[in-house]
């Protein structure tokens, strides 16, 4: 590795390449922050641009977009309660309440610090022990993946802290929605109502736009109509401490940041999962080990740190199977695989021996991108915060226009716009009746993994569920799931008792 360092540094450190990384980050943050424009599509559209570039420059651009895009989603999540990317859905839970308390600046800064630190540590792990992590990830077969998904689903009970049953119901609706489409094993159509548009399942991006953006738009209109009631709109507090994260607050959250990084890294390294799942699990874990879990969902700084560190650490984790095994961890790394192939570089065991310079250069790019990410995001923050002071009657129509256009452009299919509208109505009703939309999203995202891993497990074991409890890694996750649920129930009971005691006096 050391002998590759000098040529790698030469590859990365030229003005054009640094500019490309910065451009990638800027594009990523912007696209990520705009609900309706999605990062995988941006990466796909930029792919042909990279063909004529040096592979290191091409990868610099896409890695910049990847990192920036994963972070950017949090900006709109915090400011307008609409995640710009699925991974930021959890950030809404505490980021938006913080903005309603005038602490948008603090939440946005926490998001930057969490993202950058999570990324940085994950990148260091990638650089130092990628092949060991990959070997461990390969041990995860269908059975292990099933229990991991089970564990991830158990965090629904945490995410929906106050309305547990409604949270579980929403999660189940999400899982059911995934069932629509072709059965992955027999190929028969399930719940498609004969609509060809549904044969590939309920389209994801329109669902996300509808559930979060359109529904939020409806809620805002309603608030505007029933004016007079002084309700909590996001604003910027005059007090300086509401806009910055103090050293004391940061120290209090170091444990959360490290835990979330580890979760993001691990989930990222498992192909087929992704940043949204990591954000969910990090958030759940943070709440369950927090000293004041009641604050979660009401503007907890810890919650923002957990979600944002968790989702950005995935970017480092997902590169591990890509580089060492040639297996992409998510939609974006799948497209990145194309850049390698285009330049005759085949990711996998041979990459490190055959093209050491390129691999080390990618490592250097990652670290440089981390530093630039911090700088660009901090500069952009001043600009983004101003969005809040923009009149809602301009902000929301613009956002909704971009969203609907975004729902259409991905597939040039008007059906997707209808899906966004239908889910907008559903999201509105859910929000009105306190069903957490985040839990629905989680069920929808985890559904496919849950089903295929269970089916694969049962096929391999000739129909027996025993392996789920007898394989060691799997058993650990089953026990963790049980523990997690019991623990969150216990926390809730304590909180209720305290509330009662407080009311009693």
């Amino acid at each position: 590795m050391v002998e590759h360092l000098l040529p790698a540094l030469q590859l990365v450190f030229n003005p054009v390449n640094i500019l490309i990384i910065a451009a990638g980050l800027f594009i990523g943050i912007t696209i990520g922050a705009i609900p309706g424009l999605n990062v995988p599509m941006t990466v796909a559209l930029l792919l042909p641009v990279t063909f004529s570039m040096h592979p290191v420059s091409g990868l610099s651009l896409l890695l910049g977009v990847y990192k920036g895009g994963t972070y950017g989603g949090s900006i709109s999540a915090i400011l307008i309660n609409t995640p710009g990317a699925p991974a930021a859905a959890v950030t809404c839970l505490d980021g938006y309440p913080m903005a309603q308390q005038g602490k948008a600046g603090k939440a946005l800064r926490a998001s930057i610090y969490g993202s950058v630190i999570g990324e940085f540590i994950a990148d260091l792990v990638l650089i130092s022990i990628a092949s060991q992590v990959a070997a461990l990830a390969l041990k995860f077969g269908p059975t292990e993946k099933f229990s991991l998904v089970l564990f991830a689903l158990s965090t629904i009970s945490v995410v929906s802290s106050r309305h547990k049953l409604k949270g579980i119901a929403a999660g189940l609706i999400g899982i059911f929605l995934h069932v629509v489409g072709s059965d992955p094993i027999s190929g028969s159509s399930r719940f498609t109502l004969g609509i060809f548009n549904l044969f590939g399942g309920v389209p994801f991006l329109p669902l996300l736009i509808g559930l979060f953006a359109v529904s939020e738009f409806l809620i805002q209109i309603e608030r505007k109509a029933s004016a007079g009631k002084k309700d909590a709109v996001a604003f910027i507090s005059e007090r300086r401490e509401d806009s910055y994260v103090s050293w004391k607050e940061f120290k209090e959250n170091i444990k959360t940041i490290l835990r979330s990084t580890l979760i993001g890294l691990g989930i990222g390294a498992l192909p087929g999962s992704g940043s949204a799942i990591s954000a969910f699990v990090s958030y759940g874990a943070a709440r369950n080990s927090s000293r004041d879990p009641e604050k979660f969902g009401k503007g907890s700084l810890e919650g923002v740190f957990a979600a944002e560190t968790g989702n950005n650490a995935v970017t480092g984790g997902a590169l591990i199977p890509l580089l060492t095994l040639g297996i992409p961890g998510d939609a974006i790394t799948a497209i990145m695989l194309g850049v390698f192939l285009v330049h005759g570089l085949i990711p996998g065991p041979e990459l490190f021996t055959k093209s050491g310079n390129i691999v080390v250069a990618v490592f250097v790019v990652l670290i440089v991108a981390n530093i630039l990410h911090f700088v660009i995001a901090s500069l952009g923050l001043r600009l983004f915060v101003r969005l809040i002071s923009l009149s809602r009657s301009i902000l929301f129509p613009t956002v909704i226009l971009i969203c609907v256009a975004g729902a259409f452009t991905v597939n040039s299919n008007i059906f997707d716009v209808y899906v966004a509208i239908v889910f907008g109505a559903l999201g509105y009703l859910m929000k009105k009746f306190n069903f957490p939309v985040t839990s629905l999203l989680m069920g929808y995202i985890l559904g496919p993994l849950l089903e295929t891993s269970l089916v694969q497990t049962l096929i391999l074991s000739d129909g027996s569920v025993l392996p789920i409890f007898t394989r060691p890694i799997s058993l650990v996750f089953v026990l963790l799931t049980v523990f997690f649920i019991l623990w969150s129930l216990l926390i809730q009971k304590k909180a209720l008792d305290r509330e009662e005691a407080a009311n009693g006096t």
């Binding site: 796909a44 792919l47 269908p142 590939g200 694969q456 096929i459």
Partner: protein, 323 residues
Amino acid sequence: MKRSFFVMLLVLLSFGTLSAEGQKETEAEYPSKAIQLIVPWGAGGRTDINARMFASVAPDYLGQPMVVINKAGGASVIGGEYVAKAPPDGYTLLAITPGTNIFPPLFDQAPYGPYDFDAIGQIGSSTMAIASRPDRAWKNVDELIEYARSNPGKVTYACVALKAPQLGFLRWADAAGLEFKHVPVGNDAEAVEAALGGHVDIAMTSSVATIISHVNAGKLNALMVFSEKRDKLLPDTPTAVELGYNVVASPYTGIAGPKGLPPEVLAKLRTVFRQVMEDKKFQALMTKVGEVIDPKYGDDFYEVWRNDFEGYSEVIKKMGLKQ
């Protein structure tokens, strides 16, 4: 005032782009205006890249621009239907793969049939292959066959269900009189992952690119390929045909139009297709993106569809895979 002007501008801009498409064309010698090439999948995939490369060179010979439009949804049936039902005037073409005109019709999940398209040409095809970890009881396909014969239904293979990989594998297994256990996965990478981790015995992938690095590193043994000829990347791996099984299954990428193109339009498109395939610039572009050009022209391409559809129909009937 200023603000509402800005909003109005946005709205007007978005409508402006929509109405620009509605212009009426005048009759003239084909092609007299831009041609749409519909990609029924999202941007960034292999079909999309092939289509974009083709569309970047074809205008040199058409004298008109070619615009790539991603019309995805419904597992590519939406884009397929759009072209199948488009007026057969040569201005709407399809980047076609078995995923659009073979598999959905095979399972009655498309509002069109496999032959509701006019074949213009095949750009390339990918080599399907099976591979196993070296610690398995077999080192090559002969040993695998022997092992599977004495352990029917015990050997597991992971691949995408009910598409070229599983159906191709089943055609071979049926021809060889063998029985395996199928483990469905979402894509090629997951099949390779399951085999590398030792969770299944065989990975069946729709392209050699996903296994070649592991084969070269000695982590996987490539056992057999399903193409007509041996693959350049795996010169020592035999084809199914060589071993005496009449199974050729290579997922293609090509260009087609709606059925019933006027003869002179079809002829023009086929000529242009051949010119693009022989174009040095196109060949260089394709090499650059790692795609192998393996052209088949006109009716030969149509024959590939026939071979696929009939071969797969037979195997799904035999295995009772259709509800």
